[in-house]
């Protein structure tokens, strides 16, 4: 199965700043997804990122706050902009499944905003 690496694994940031999270996959994938998991909560889909097209955002998430890049088939970034304490969460990327491989996840980026 594809190996997913996220960087950074964790960070502590000041409010008002922005942080870019990287997601690297060791094989080419068409679909990549970004999720947020707030403390003690379940996962919520932020957006779907296809290579070569604009990301598709779920209700409640906007591009200005969470810009996403997908420059090639193995890489994506999620930026959390103008952070506030409410953005303290784990951000996870996942890659779309294939016939023999279900959708699977990186281990996430744990973000704390002071």
């Amino acid at each position: 199965s594809a190996v997913i690496s996220q960087k950074p694994s964790r960070d502590i940031c000041q409010r008002g700043t922005s942080l870019t999270i990287q997601c690297q996959v060791d094989s080419q994938v068409t679909m990549m997804f970004w999720y947020r998991q707030q403390p003690g909560q379940s996962l919520t889909l932020i957006a779907t990122a296809n290579q070569g097209s604009e990301a598709t955002y779920e209700s409640g998430f906007v591009i200005d706050k969470f810009p996403i890049s997908r420059p090639n088939l193995t890489f994506s970034t999620l930026t959390v902009s103008n952070m506030s304490p409410e953005d303290s969460s784990i951000y996870l990327c996942s890659v779309g499944g294939s016939l023999n491989q279900p959708q699977h996840f990186g281990d996430g980026t744990r973000l704390s905003i002071l």
Binding site: T44, L45, T48, G96, G97, S98, L99, P102, G108, R110
Partner: protein, 113 residues
């Protein structure tokens, strides 16, 4: 309206069989049922998926009655390392390539010695 309903938590002891039931009364004809497991500080990990009847793999079994309005994840002889949150999902199969997964609240399973 929640797509799935599961117990918030369950307790078990090592060596026991654990059955976690999930209700999905509004499951659509084309929906699959999928279970993921999540350990602290890790992303969710796929356990099993099914459409109807029974599916078994090296980790778990999934029982789905004929009306498909519920499903039961069965973990045989759990160990301490099975302590995790278990999520039941319904929707496109996670190996479809295009599926977006909708996570419910999950069941926190605590296995004690």
């Amino acid at each position: 309206l929640a797509k799935t309903t599961q117990p918030i938590s369950m307790d078990s002891y090592e060596g026991q069989e654990v059955n976690i039931t999930c209700s999905h009364n509004n499951i659509a004809t084309n929906d699959y049922i999928t279970w993921y497991q999540q350990f602290p500080s890790q992303g969710p990990r796929f356990i099993i998926q099914g459409y109807k009847t029974k599916v078994t793999n090296e980790v778990a079994s999934l029982f789905i009655p004929a009306d498909r309005k519920s499903s039961t994840l069965s973990l045989p002889r759990v160990s301490l390392s099975d302590t995790a949150v278990y999520y039941c999902l319904v929707g496109d199969p996670p190996n479809s390539g295009y599926s977006t997964l909708t996570f419910g609240k999950g069941t926190m399973l605590l296995v004690s010695p």
